[in-house]
C-alpha cells in the first residue's frame, strides 16, 4: 500500500510536504478535471493532523449525503437544492462551477486524499464498505449531474471511459423502441440525442428497472442516462479497489498511529451494530413475544409476527427478516429454534421442520456452514432489498403496502385518524422511515418535541427505543440512541479523540484482528449489495489458487 506507507514516514512533517505539492503546470496535470474517478492513490506525505482533519471533513460530507438521501427523493428538485446548499458549506468544489482550475488545486487535492483515507477506514467489513460505496456513489452522481456536456466529455476522456454513439441509421431504425424504453424520451427527442450501445452488464441499474432498450445482449443508453453507466463503472471500480485495500490493510506496516485512528473513523458512521448485542441475549422470554409484538415491535415485524401466527409459516424472505430481528432483540438460538418449531409444527411434522428449517436457524446464528454471524436487517436494507412477491409478508409496510390497506390496518391498531393521514402523507412523499417514526410517536404517546431527535434506521433500534420508553429509561438514553443517525458532526463517539492519540497496543491488535476476520466473513454475507462481496470472492479464490 503505497498510500499507507507514505504516511508511515510522516515524521518529516510540513516542510517536505509542501515541497511535494505541485506548482504551475504540474498542478493542472495532476487533476485534469474537477470531478475525479479516484483511480490513482495519492503519494505525497501529510501530517497526522492533516490526515485526521481531511478524514473528518469527508465523513461529514458523506453523513450529510446520507441524511439528505433519507429525507428527500434522490434526483428530485428538493433533494438537489438541499444537497447544493449543504455541499456549498462542506465541500464547495462539489458545487462550484466558476472557479478557475488553478484556484481549485487545493480543493481537488483534498477531495482526492480524503477519499483515499476513508477507503482505508471503510474497507474492513461488508457493512462498512456498503455504506461507504453508497454515499460516495450518491455524491459522485450528484456532482456528475451538475456538469455540462463539454465538461462530461472531457471528464470521460480524462478517465479513459469511451462510449461511442451509434450511427444515425441505427438510431432512426430503432427510434420507436428507444422512446418506449427510456423515460421522458419521445421519438422527436431521439433524433437530437446520442445513444450509446454497451453490453447490458454495464447498465445494470437501467436493466433492472426496465428503463433501457435491450437487444441481443446490448443496452442502448440515451445520453440522458449516461450517468447510470458511468456511476456503475465507478461503483465497480470502487468496490474492487476496496476489496484490494481490505486485503492489504492487515499486512500494513504500521507504527500504531494510523490503524487506531482509522478504526475510530470507521466507527463513526452509524449507530449500534445489532449483530453483537451479546449483553442482551436471553433477556426476552418466549411467552412475552405476543404482547411485545403489540407494544414494542415496529410495524414490519408486527406484520410478520401475525402472519406467522396465522399461517404457521413464513416464506424465506420473511423468515430472514423476522428471524434476524428476533436474534437482535436477544433471543438465544435455543429460544429461536423453539419459537419457530412450535409455530411451524402446527402445519408440518417436527421431522420436516428439523430437516428443512432448523439448519437455517442455526446457520443464521453462525452455528452451521461457514459460521457467519448474520446481522439483523436495517431499514435501508428492508426498503431497498428484495421486494416481496406473492405470498410474502416481509418488506417495509410503509413502502410495500397499498396506501388504502395501510390506512385500514393503522385504523385497526387504533391510530387516531389525524395521525393516519399524517403517515399517509409521508408515505406518499416516499418518506418511509419518517412515516415509521411518526408511527412510533403515535403508538408511544410522545409529544413531538420530546423525540425530535429520533431518526429510525433499524427495526431493532425501534424495539430498543420502545423498550426504553416502556421501562421509563427514556431520559437517560436521550442523546444516545435517539440522536444517532442525525449526528453528522462526528462528535457523538466521545472516545474518538482520546483513542486516536493513545493508540495503545491492545487497540492495535484489535484492529488487526477485526480486519482479518472481516475479510473472512465478507464473502459469506448474503449480500444484497454484493459488489464488494463478489470482488472479495474472486480475489480470495485467485490468491488461494496462486499459493496452492
Amino acid at each position: 500500500m503505497e498510500f499507507g506507507k507514505g504516511k508511515r514516514e510522516k515524521s518529516q512533517t510540513g516542510r517536505k510536504n509542501r515541497q511535494k505539492r505541485l506548482a504551475g503546470d504540474d498542478r493542472n496535470k495532476a487533476y485534469k478535471h474537477r470531478l475525479q474517478f479516484y483511480s490513482i492513490p495519492p503519494t505525497e506525505n501529510i501530517s497526522l493532523s492533516e490526515f485526521e482533519e481531511m478524514a473528518i471533513n469527508r465523513l461529514k460530507v458523506l453523513k450529510q449525503v446520507e441524511n439528505i438521501g433519507i429525507k428527500f427523493v434522490k434526483g428530485r428538485n428538493d433533494y438537489n437544492d438541499v444537497m447544493e446548499k449543504e455541499l456549498r458549506k462542506l465541500m464547495p468544489i462539489a458545487v462550484s462551477q466558476h472557479h478557475k482550475d488553478e484556484d481549485d488545486y487545493d480543493a481537488k487535492r483534498k477531495d482526492h486524499i480524503s477519499h483515499f483515507i476513508l477507503r482505508l477506514a471503510y474497507c474492513r467489513s461488508e457493512e462498512l464498505r456498503r455504506w461507504f460505496i453508497a454515499q460516495e456513489l450518491d455524491l459522485f452522481r450528484f456532482r456528475f449531474l451538475q456538469e455540462n456536456k463539454e465538461s462530461i466529455t472531457s471528464f470521460l476522456q480524462a478517465n479513459d471511459l469511451h462510449y461511442k454513439p451509434i450511427s444515425e441509421e441505427e438510431k432512426t431504425d430503432k427510434a420507436r423502441k428507444f422512446s418506449n424504453s427510456s423515460y421522458g424520451i419521445n421519438e422527436s427527442v431521439v433524433t437530437h440525442m446520442d445513444f450509446y450501445k454497451v453490453p447490458f452488464t454495464e447498465a445494470l441499474d437501467l436493466v433492472k428497472g426496465r428503463k433501457v432498450y435491450l437487444e441481443k445482449g446490448f443496452a442502448y443508453v440515451p445520453h440522458n442516462d449516461l450517468v447510470s453507466i458511468v456511476v456503475s463503472a465507478f461503483r465497480a471500480h470502487l468496490s474492487h479497489a476496496l476489496a484490494l485495500t481490505a486485503r492489504a490493510v492487515p499486512s500494513l506496516e504500521e507504527d500504531n498511529r494510523l490503524l487506531p485512528m482509522l478504526t475510530n473513523i470507521s466507527k463513526q458512521y452509524l449507530g449500534e451494530d445489532y449483530s453483537n448485542k451479546n449483553s442482551k441475549t436471553g433477556s426476552i422470554a418466549l411467552e412475552d413475544i405476543d404482547s411485545l409484538a403489540k407494544t414494542a415491535y415496529p410495524l414490519c415485524m408486527r406484520q410478520l409476527h401475525s402472519a406467522l401466527r396465522e399461517d404457521h409459516h413464513l416464506k424465506h424472505g420473511g423468515r430472514q427478516q423476522y428471524g434476524l430481528f428476533l436474534k437482535g432483540i436477544g433471543l438465544t438460538m435455543e429460544q429461536a429454534l423453539k419459537f419457530w418449531r412450535t409455530e411451524f409444527s402446527k402445519k408440518m411434522d417436527g421431522d420436516k421442520f428439523e430437516k428443512q428449517y432448523a439448519y437455517n436457524i442455526r446457520h443464521s446464528f453462525g452455528k452451521e456452514g461457514k459460521r457467519v454471524n448474520y446481522t439483523p436487517y436495517s431499514c435501508m436494507k428492508i426498503i431497498m432489498g428484495t421486494q416481496p412477491g406473492p405470498g410474502d409478508y416481509h418488506g417495509c409496510p410503509f413502502r410495500h403496502t397499498d396506501v388504502k390497506l395501510l390506512k385500514q390496518r393503522l385504523a385497526s391498531y387504533k391510530i387516531p385518524a389525524q395521525g393516519i393521514e399524517q403517515i399517509a402523507d409521508l408515505v406518499k412523499g416516499y418518506h418511509y422511515q419518517l412515516a415509521c417514526t411518526k408511527y412510533f410517536e403515535l403508538t408511544h404517546n410522545i409529544d413531538k418535541d420530546e423525540v425530535s431527535g429520533l431518526s429510525l434506521q433499524h427495526p431493532n433500534q425501534y424495539f430498543d427505543a420502545s423498550m426504553d420508553i416502556q421501562s421509563g429509561k427514556l431520559k437517560e438514553s436521550k442523546g444516545g440512541r435517539f440522536s444517532q443517525g442525525n449526528n453528522a458532526s462526528g462528535t457523538y463517539n466521545s472516545q474518538r479523540s482520546s483513542g486516536t492519540q493513545s493508540s495503545s497496543q491492545s487497540q492495535m491488535s484489535n484492529t488487526q484482528q477485526s480486519a482479518n476476520t472481516s475479510t473472512a466473513t465478507i464473502v459469506d454475507e448474503e449480500g444484497w449489495d454484493n459488489f464488494t462481496g463478489e470482488d472479495m470472492e474472486k480475489l480470495d479464490s485467485s490468491v488461494a489458487m496462486d499459493t496452492s
Binding site: 423502441k177 422512446s179 418506449n180 424504453s181 423515460y183 447490458f200 452488464t201 445494470l204 441499474d205 436493466v207 433492472k208 428497472g209 426496465r210 432498450y213 435491450l214 437487444e215 441481443k216 445482449g217 446490448f218 406484520q303 402472519a307 424465506h316 424472505g317 430437516k355 461457514k370 428484495t386 421486494q387 416481496p388 412477491g389 406473492p390 405470498g391 410474502d392 409478508y393 416481509h394 418488506g395 409496510p397 410495500h400 403496502t401 397499498d402 390497506l405 395501510l406 475479510t519 473472512a520 464473502v523 449480500g527 454484493n530 459488489f531 462481496g533 463478489e534 470472492e537 474472486k538 480470495d540 479464490s541 490468491v543 488461494a544 489458487m545 496452492s548
Partner: protein, 436 residues
Amino acid sequence: MVTARAMSEEKTEVVRPSYSPDELPEYLPVYYKRLFPYGLYYRWLNYGGVQKNYFCNREFSFTLKDDVYIRYQSFSDQQEMEKQIQRQCPYKIDIGAVFSHKPKDHKTVKPTAFQALEKELVFDIDMTDYDDVRSCCQGADICANCWPLMRMAIKIVDAALGEDFGFEHRLWVYSGRRGVHCWVADEAARKLSQNARSAVAEYLSVVKGGENKLRKVHLPENIHPSIVRAIGIVGQYFDDYALEKQDILGDKDSWQKALAVIPDDKLRECAMKIMEEKKNSKERWYSFKKEHQALLNGDANIRKSRHCLQEIALQYCYPRLDVNVSKGINHLLKSPFCVHPKTGRVCVPIDPAHVDSFDPFKVPDINQLCQEIDEYDRKNKPEITEGDQPPPKKRMKDYKKTSLLESIEVFEKFVTKMEKQWKGKLLEISDQKGDF
C-alpha cells in the same frame, strides 16, 4: 388462439399402472443403471473441456432416503459420476456452482478460498406462486386448467432471454411436479455476477408486491418493448385460459378481485356495472374493453387507468419467478433427468417450440419406463440360435425403447448446438498456442 392439445381431462388411452412413492427404491437402481443419459449429461456439463476443471469443480448434491442431504459431491469424470450415482441411488440430484476447488475437498481448503465462481443462469417458476390467481388448484396441485400459465411463462421468458439478452443456449425442464426450470448455458451467462443475475431477474419480474398489495402490476405510459411482446403472448392465451378455464370474471367475488386493481374509482364502478349486466366472463371482459376504449378516446380523466386491462391480464398471467434462485451463483437447482420422488415423473427437457403440446401428465414416470424396457425386450427377444453365440456388438440404448426418447432428443439438440460453438473455440485456443 392456441388450440392446446386437451390434457388430462380426457381419459388417456393407455391405462397406466399408477406410481406410488413406496416403489421408488425398487425402480431407482434400474433407472440409474439403464436410463439416465450420463453421456449427454457429461457432455453438457463438461462444456467441451474449454475451461479446465470445469466438470470436476462442479458441485452436485444428493438427497438420499429419509431426506438425508449430502452437499459438495464432485466427480473427476463421467465414470466416477456414474459409479457414485449408481451406488447411492439418490432420490434427488441438485446441480450447484463451479467452484475454485473440487467441492469434495472443500474441507481441506481455507473456507475463504473455497468460492463459487460460475454457474448457469437459472430460473425457477413454480405454480405455488400463482395461488392468488388460480381458481382451480392450490399449492402443489396442478391441472389442465392452470398449466397454460407455465406455457406462457416459458414463451415469455424464453423470448426475452433470446431476443433481449442474446442468450442462445436455453434448456427448459419440467420440474417433475408443479413447475419448470430454465438453464441458460451460454458462456456469458455462466460468468454473470450476482448483481447481473439479479438485474436480469428483476427485468423479468413484472408482478410485484406481496400480500399487502392488490395492484401488483404498474405499467408506465410508454410500455417497454419486452412487455409489449409479453402482452402479445398473453393475448394468445387469454381468452381460453383466463376467460374460459379460470373464468376470472365468472362471479361477483372473482370480478371484484380482478377489478380491485383499477386505480380510478369511477372507472371501477362503471366496470362493476358492466359485470352485472353481462352474463359470462368473455362478454364482461370485451364489453368492458370497449367501454374503456371509448372512455379513453373521450375526454374522461382516466389516465392512471390507461393500461388497466393489460395490467389485469399481466397480473393473472405474467410469469412469476422465484428470484432468489436466479440471483445466487451458489444456489442449487434440481438436475434435469431426476425423478420426482412424489410423482415418480422424470424431470424432462421441454422444447420451447413445442411447449403447447407438452403435457405434464403425460411425462413418463419411473415405473412406466421400467416396464417399457421389459416390454420391448420381451417383444424383441433375440432369437437364440446356438448357445455360445456372442451377443450382438452394438446394443441398443435402453432409453430408445421407452417414451423417454423424445425428451432425450430435446436434450441432445441443446448439447450439440453448444458443441458446435466449442469446436470453434477449441480451434481458436489451439491456434493461439501454435503461434508460440
